[in-house]
Amino acid sequence: MNQHRFHIDVIGKTKIWFAISGIVILIGVIAMFVNGFNWGIDFTGGTIMEFQIGKSFDTADIIKILNNYKVKDFQVQKIGTKGDTVSIKTSPISNETRLSIIKDIESKYNLTENDLIMSQQVGPSLGAEIKFGMIRALLLASAVMFIYLGFRFEFEMSGAAVIALLHDVIILISIYAIFHITVNAPFIAAVLTVFGYSVNATVVIFDRIRDNLKIMRRSDYAKIANVSVNQTLTRSINTTLTTLIMLVLMYFLGPNALKDFALPLLIGIISGTYSSIFISTPLWVLIKNREKRRKTSNKPIKA
C-alpha cells in the first residue's frame, strides 16, 4: 500500500509559490499607499447609532438632520433584513449634538427611546492605544513563537515558521487594504489567533520532517520536505475544513460582532494553511541547503 495519497512536488515549484504570495503582497502594499486602511470607530473614535424606524424611509432625510448640525464625515446606511433600520456613523461629536440628533430623528419618525436599538461612542484617544498595543503584542508573540519552536525543533525551522506567519499577517492586512474592509478591534484578535494557527499548521509538517530526517537519512532536504508535506496534506486540508465550516457559518448566520471575527480568521486561516505548505516548508529547504553549501565549501578539498 501507498504511504500517502498525494505526490505533489511542492519544493520543485518553490519559485511559483513565492511569486504568488509576492504578487498578493505587492498589490496589498500598493493598496495600503493608495487606499490606506478603512479604520473603524474602535480606532478613529466616533459615534454609531442604530434606529429601528419600523417603516420605509429615505436616508436623505437623515442626512439633512446631520447637516443641520454640521456633522462632518458621516455614513448613513440602511441595515437589517427588512431595510427598516438605519445605521449612522459619525466622527466624534459632542454630547449635546448627539442628543439633539437623537431627538430630531425620534420626533421625525415618531420613535420612542426603545427604538434606538444600539449606540456606541469611542473617544479618539483609545484608538492609538489599541494600535500600539497590537504592535507590541505581535512583536512579543513572534519572539515567543520563535524561541519556543527553536527549542522544540531547531532554529532553521523556527525561522521559517516565523517568516511564514509574518507572511500570513501581511497577506491578511493586504486583503483588508485591497478591499478596504473596515478594521476594528476584533481584527487584532484575529491577527493574533492567525499567528497561533499558522504556526500550528507549520508545526505539524515540521514534526513530520523531524521524524523523516531520522528515517530517510540518505535523502536530500527537498525530498524529505516533499514527502512530509504530502504525508500531512490530508490532515492540513481536513483540519482547515472543519475550522472553515464554523467560520463560514459564523460569517453568514452570525450577528455583526461575529462577522468581525469570522472574516479575518477565514482569510488568515486559509493563508496559514497555504503558507505552512508552500512558504515555510520550501523556506526551510532553502535555509538548510544554504547551510550545507556553506559547510561543504569551507571544508578543505582533498585531491
Binding site: 500500500m1 504511504q3 500517502h4 429601528q52 442628543l99 427611546e113 426603545n114 434606538l116 436599538i117 444600539m118 449606540s119 456606541q120 461612542q121 469611542v122 473617544g123 483609545l126 492605544e129 498595543g133 507590541r136 503584542a137 508573540a141 515567543v144 519552536l149 525543533f153 478591534a185 476584533p186 487584532i188 484578535a189 493574533l192 489567533t193 499567528f195 497561533g196 494557527y197 500550528n200 499548521a201 508545526v203 505539524v204 514534526d207 504525508q231 500531512t232 490530508t234 481536513n238 483540519t239 472543519t242 475550522t243 472553515l244 465550516i245 464554523m246 467560520l247 457559518l249 459564523m250 453568514f252 448566520l253 452570525g254 450577528p255 460582532a257 461575529l258 471575527f261 469570522a262 480568521l265
Partner: protein, 411 residues
Amino acid sequence: MRSRGFIKFFSVVLIAAIVAYVAFFGINVGNYSISPVQKHIRLGLDLRGGVYVLLEAQGDITQDAIDKAIAVIKNRVDALGVTQPVIAQQGSNRIRVELPGMKDPDKAIEIIGKTAQLKFVGPDGQVILTGANVKDSKAVYGQSQTGVQQPEVTLVLDAEGTKKFAEATQKFIEQPIAILLDDKVISAPTVQNVITNGNAVITGLKDFQEASELATLIRAGSLPVTLKPIAYSSVGATLGPSAYNASVKAGIYGVLLILLFMAVFYRLPGVMADIALLIYILIDLIIYALFNITLDLPGIAGFLLSIGMAVDANVLIFERFKEELWAGKSIRAALEAGFARAFRAIFDANMTTIIGAIILFYMGSGNVKGFALTLLIGVISSLFTAITVTRFLLLALVDLDLTRNIKFYGA
C-alpha cells in the same frame, strides 16, 4: 474482549449523558442541588442589553482617588437598582461600568459621572456642612468606654467646618445628624458630645470593612475626582437576544456539519471523535459555569472557533492511524502507534495557539479579552478530551471488534 469494549463504550456514553442532563436541567438530591449551567453562565451586555461606560479619572491620579471614585459609583449604582452591575478598575486611571438592563447611556453617564456631593444635614433638614469642609476621614480602631477595641471613622474638619459643627452638635445633642452622599444617606450617627475641635469620631460600626467603606465615601465627597466618559455603548433589549439566537444557530449548524464530516470521512473512529466533540462542548460549558465566566459575543466567537479547531487532534491521530494500517499493522497496534506518534505534534501545535491566546488575553483591549479567554479554555480542554476521551473510546472500539475491514476505519 467484546464485552469489555461494550462496557467501556457505554459507560462513557452513559456518564456523558448523565452529566449532560444534570448540566442542562439541574438536579435536587436531598439537601444538595445543582442548578443548570445556563443559570451560572453570565451573558455579556451585548447579548442581554444594557449600557457600558468607560470612564477616565482626570488630573492627578492616585490609587486612593480611583478607589474613592469606584466607591462613589457603587453607591450610585446601588441606588439605581440594577441587577449584577460591574464596576471595575481598568489600567491605572480608568473605570469600567456595566449596567445590564439600562437603556439610556446618557442618563447612565449623567448619574455615574457627576461630581460627588457630600452633605451633613441636621434633623431639621438644614445643611450643616458640605464636602468642602471635610479635610480628611479615616477608618481606625478605637477604644470604647468599656475598653473594647472597635472600628471607628474619624473626621477632620477645616476652620469653618469646626465652627459650624460645634454649633450644630450643641444644638442637636442626642439627636442624629445625617451624612448624605449624592442625596443618599450613608450614615446617621447620633451626636453624643459637643465637638469643638473639629475632630469627630463615628462609632457603632459593624466591622472594620464597613468603617473603611464609610471613610472612603466621605473622602470621595470631600475631594471629588472628576470622571470623563471616554467610550460607551448601549445595546437595546431586542438586539441582544436576536444576536444571541443568531450565534446559537450558527453554532448548532456548524457542529452538525462537523459531526457529519468526521463520520463520513473517518467512519467508525470519526463517530468516536463525534462523541468526544460533544463531550468537549459539554466540558467547556461546565467550565464557563464553574468559573462564572461572562459570555459576550467575542466570547462566543472564541468558543465557536475552538469547536472548529477541536477535532484537529483527532484528525492528526486518525491520519497516523491510517498510515499504520496501510503499513500492515493490526488495528490495535496501528491505533497505539498512531497515538504515540501524533502526540508530539498535537502538543506543539496546541502550545502555539495557547501562546497566542495568552498574549491576546493580557495585551488585548477589553472588547477582545472574552475571545482570548474562551479560545484558551477551548484549546486546553480539547487537548484534554483528545488524549483521554477519544483515546478511551477508540480503545473500546478496538475491543468491540465490530469489523476488521480497515475501510471502516477510514483507510
